[in-house]
């Protein structure tokens, strides 16, 4: 199952190249993350209009929706990176997948917490068995499983492969879980109005949302790269270039 890939793909597989490349990218992504997050927060909190139904509690959307999207794409990235690692036996891909898990879990917690808090003024309860919230809770469980399995192995190579398989199984299951939870939700609580699905959001509401979402992605990239860089150094600590990096630190 070997497919010929472009040259950069194989370069990315070299730990040293990865370390230097991400080192060059890191400042740019950090700057972009800070800029986007600050602009998005101020815009969302101060300048975006309040919702005519929900008032100012609507402003929670500017962290709830980006964190929900990010938690899901982070899982997808983890599973895809794991698959790349399995197929092309690429260690860097496993390093990236391993770095995704704790970040994704924390972002899923953020999405759950803000969703629950948003539920209080909207539905009158801190927790509502809403389809999206429940699906996010299951996603958090999937992350917890991946993290637990990864830390249970002593041998790193086996841990990499086992987590890759588990996250792929989870990835296949996510659409089924989402569908089943939505179906279960309509069965048990018909026609609750969902906060995140507004038919037509005016641009002064969704533009800051877009800025925030981009900011979340940049932030994710920054944390992911720095975690992966440390892990690369840890795995390559016997090689000469890492020794030079350590001495010059």
């Amino acid at each position: 199952m070997k497919i010929k890939m472009p040259r950069w793909f194989y370069q990315l597989a070299s730990p040293r190249w990865f370390y230097e490349f991400t080192g060059a990218l890191l400042p740019w992504f950090s700057a972009a993350a800070i800029l986007l997050l600050v602009i998005g927060t101020v815009w969302g909190l101060v300048f975006a209009p309040a919702d005519y139904q929900q008032g100012n509690s609507f402003r929670i959307i500017y962290i709830h929706v980006p964190s929900s999207i990010l938690a899901q794409s982070c899982y997808m990235m983890m599973a895809v990176a794991g698959a790349v690692g399995l197929v092309w036996k690429m260690k860097i891909a496993h390093v990236v997948a391993g770095a995704c898990a704790p970040i994704g879990a924390s972002i899923a917690i953020m999405s759950l917490a803000t969703g629950a808090i948003w539920g209080k003024p909207t539905w009158g309860a801190w927790w509502v068995w809403d389809a999206r919230l429940t699906a996010m809770l299951v996603l958090l469980f999937l992350y917890i499983g991946v993290i637990a399995l990864n830390s249970a192995f002593e041998n790193k190579a086996s841990a990499d492969k086992a987590t890759a398989i588990l996250s792929l199984v989870g990835l296949v299951n996510i659409p089924i879980i989402k569908y089943s939870v939505e179906w279960w939700n309509t069965l048990h609580q018909p026609a609750t109005f969902t906060v995140t699905e507004k038919p037509a959001m005016p641009p002064e509401m969704w533009v800051p949302l877009l800025v925030m979402a981009l900011g979340f992605y940049c932030f994710f990239a920054v944390v992911l790269m720095s975690r992966a860089r440390t892990e690369v150094l840890e795995r390559e600590k016997r090689s000469d270039w890492v020794k030079r990096v350590i001495q010059s630190y």
Partner: protein
């Protein structure tokens, strides 16, 4: 100041101040946790690596 007539009004967020600020607070805490934990891992690695390197050079 944007949609709000005063700073106190901004803090109150209508009647939803608690919920909005709690959400943004949690988001901030999780962001800080991510930054600090990534930094901590890196620091820990370099401390251990330097110690190991010094030990190795000492024995040679």
């Amino acid at each position: 100041m944007g949609n709000f007539s005063s700073f106190a009004d901004f803090l109150q967020m209508g009647t939803h101040g608690l919920y909005v600020w709690l959400s943004y607070g949690i988001a901030l805490v999780i962001f800080i946790y991510n930054i600090v934990s990534a930094y901590w891992l890196k620091r820990q690695f370099f401390i251990n690596a330097k110690r190991r390197l010094r030990r190795e050079q000492g024995t040679v």
